[in-house]
């Protein structure tokens, strides 16, 4: 991606990254200049009268006359303008509300305080990370598992509340890929991008488009800064941010086929799978599974688990090999180890490459 050819924002509006943005901005600037015109005329008249008719000896106010024509005029003349504004705004809104038929669909789940994205074929993107192809309409089907959220991407000029108990949708078509730039702070990124969420490994952040949660969704007690919790999750309404990465169609197709690629911080390393597995553990598993070999609550410790003999509640047993691990992740309720009847681990959907990485990481814990 050519970094010198990115869209630029204006003093008032962020850069345009979607097909909807130019139309919205045109409307914005139209009403802006209408407002400026009205303001200038009203203020000029006020200031002129204030000076001309300032109270001074000898000046007596003239009794107020009245002009029905003038009153009718300024009551109904603005109506014409208002009809135009309504009509333009509504047609723009309808275009934004109806997704093209050839849109690809992405399932979005909002939860306090993270975004989860599921692509077709059940491919789950990294937490708080959304990849979309360029020049393709994308329709989001969104739901919330707890309170109200709102999916907002300023660069696309789209926003929609994410409501528990119902689906809401929005669509957009990105017009440009986001450049591949690694960063340490927002200052390293071109206009309109932010230095995305910290990956669980704590390194190699990249510049992406920000996804905000625009509907207030609270905060737990005791959170002081914009920190992430131990699992690399966001912790409150103001940090419920997602990374939006626009990629080429070819890159997107590869992503759908293979699932999310290993994180940038692991690429090029000899232990790429172990490194990736550790990061997945940090994102999804650390809340219940320790890896220090000591604590066993609330779920089994991973250290020394691989190759171990497992006793299940139904009395059967098995060796913890690759197939056992795979099934325990995809269908955790199918084989419950004794002593963990009440844990209720939810099923996770990972790509084969991710499962390989988790198994590699688990094996490395035994060394």
């Amino acid at each position: 991606m050519d970094e010198n050819n990115l869209p630029e924002g204006t003093l008032q509006l962020p850069p345009q990254w979607s097909t909807l943005a130019p139309e919205v901005d045109e409307m914005y600037y139209f009403i802006y200049w209408v407002s400026v015109a009205f303001t200038v005329v009203i203020f000029a008249a006020m200031i002129y009268f204030m000076w001309k008719y300032r109270r001074r000896p000898g000046l007596k106010a003239k009794p107020t006359g009245h002009s029905t024509a003038l009153e009718i005029g300024w009551t109904f003349a603005p109506l014409i303008l208002l009809v135009v504004l309504f009509h333009q705004g509504f047609t723009g809104y309808v275009r934004g509300a109806v997704a093209p038929e050839d849109s690809i669909e992405v399932r979005v789940r909002g939860m306090q305080w993270n975004w989860e994205f599921e692509h077709r074929g059940g491919v789950i993107d990294d937490l708080n990370y959304l990849r979309v192809p360029v020049n393709t309409p994308v329709r989001l089907i969104m739901s919330s598992s707890d309170v109200l959220h709102s999916f907002f991407v300023p660069a696309f000029r789209v926003k929609r509340d994410v409501v528990p108990g119902m689906y809401s949708t929005l669509w957009f078509e990105a017009t440009q890929e986001t450049p591949d730039i690694q960063c340490e702070s927002d200052a390293d990124c071109p206009e309109g991008l932010w230095c995305g969420n910290t990956p669980p490994g704590g390194e190699a952040r990249e510049c992406v488009l920000p996804i905000f949660c625009a509907e207030y969704c609270g905060a737990p007690r005791g959170i002081t800064a914009s920190a992430f919790d131990e699992g690399g999750r966001n912790t409150n309404h103001s940090t419920m941010m997602g990374d939006l990465k626009v990629i080429t169609q070819a890159e997107y197709d590869e992503f759908i086929e293979l699932g999310p690629p290993p994180p940038a911080s692991c690429q090029g390393r000899d232990d790429i799978n172990e490194c990736w597995g550790e990061q997945i553990h940090q994102s999804y598993c650390v809340a219940c599974h320790s890896v220090d070999g000591a604590t066993q609550a609330p779920a089994p410790n991973w250290k020394g688990l691989f190759g171990n003999q497992r006793q299940f509640v139904d009395g059967s047993s098995a060796t913890a090999d690759e197939n056992y691990i795979r099934q325990s992740i995809l269908q955790p309720q199918s084989q419950i180890v004794q002593g963990y009847n009440n844990v209720n681990m939810p099923p996770f959907r990972f790509s084969d490459r991710q499962l390989d990485a988790i198994i590699a990481y688990m094996r490395s814990l035994n060394e």
């Binding site: 008032q12 007596k60 300024w74 609270g218 309404h237």
Partner: protein, 561 residues
Amino acid sequence: MTAEVAPQPHAHAPTGEGYLTHERGLKSWLFTLDHKRIGLMYLGSVLLAFLLGGIMALLVRAELLFPGETLMEADTYNQVFTLHGAIMVFLFIIPSIPAALGNFFLPIMLGTKDVAFPRLNLGSFYIYCLGAIVAIVAIVIGHVDTGWTFYTPYSARADSSVIWMTSGAFILGFSSILTGVNFIATVHKMRAPGLHWKRLPLFIWGMYATSVIQVLATPVLAITLFLLMMEKTLTVGIFDPALGGDPVLFQHFFWFYSHPAVYIMILPGMAIVNEVIATFSHRKIFGYMFVAMSSISLALVGFLVWGHHMFTAGMSEYATMVFSALTFLVAIPSGVKVFNWVATLYQGSISFKSPMLYSLGFIALFTIGGLTGLFLGILSVDIHLHDTYFVVAHFHYVMVGGTVFGFVSGLHYWWPKMTGKMYSEKLARVAFVFVFVGFNVTFFSQFVLGSQGMPRRYYDYLDQFQPLHMTSSGGAFILGFGFLIMLFMFVKSLVSGEKAPPNPWSSAGYEWMTTTPIHPHNFAEPPVMTRGPYDYHLCTEEELFPGFPEDFKPSEKAAKA
């Protein structure tokens, strides 16, 4: 005629004690049925609420000086902005003008002794106090972090002190309803002889329109909050989807009240501006009947546009279309008011005393606040701006630049009549400069923050927004400092202010016809209105300029010289 022999208006009024001193002791206040004393007690209460809410506002702005933690943790911040909103809306803005200044001046401007139901009036004050106490208990014992809108299901799942807070708002609503009923009855039945509808001061028209909304809309808030309490205490599924409810239904209910409530807040501000512009221009408001009817039509149209708070919330596209179209209608009566105010200045005799400065400030800021409302009415643009700082800036331009400026203008305007004391005009002007400049610095920068995409209610924010946040916070401290000067100025006036003449602004308004200090029964003898409240051409110079220096008077002789 010369100044020495200029008679006081109603020179036949007894020179006895005024309403403040004719009875003394705590009991004479707590059990008073005098609308003026009740108005003053309201005034004290709402000013206290304004101080509290203002401190919360400064805490919010201080926290936002820098990204990340500046003063407090995220959860505390969420509570602070919730309290700022809830206190300012329910305890300050809604009762500010109607219950305090309206209570005080509505009967006087109608030329009557009191409101129609004085006991009910005292009752509504105590209901207000009870509501305020319940709300403050919620603040002290609990953990209210839902935002002033109490959106479900967040509020349904939050700490139980949300119940206390909503109970407080529920009780406050009844105070509002009773005041509204009282005002409507008073305006209909208690007008002085000669005071027909076409002579009614525009302040009264504004209060009347406000009262209609209070009576019709506030019960819906009560119902909504009651349902919320039911849901929380009895776990009946109404709004929480986990119990089978619909969270968007709450938003419909809430805004069905809270949008008309916006007009409960702004109409009284506009009402005061009418009085002040007329007085300080020495002219009847241009298009009197159009201005009066614009208040009534705002009150009515205000009931039909609640959905514009929910364009992104998941309504059907058809509902969205209707609400957007109706929303634009609000612009018409608002525009009519602004145009007529400006036309009133034309060929007037304009004096720039501090009340007038605030009213002129009102017109300027309300113009900006109103026009930015158009941005939010346009559907496609609103999608981008909804729930960002643009909305925050817009409603502060209307609620602070509008209502608070109107309230402060009225406070300066009527202060000499209420207290019998003058204040330092110089200090008042200094305070105005700080308030006006501070306000614009604070909130103009928020328009840009919002259009750039900064969402509301954020504890932490991206680095790119920091310069504008810092500017906004800087402005907030200037604004706060301006209000401190104003507080000092008013306290100084109470302690050592000069005695106020009965008509210091040379106004033709009815409330200036009575003595200062005001007679306990408002007028020593029931007045008969023989002219309108803005008929400057029918007033004698002695009526308008009692005790003013000769060269101040625009008499024929001076005009020739």
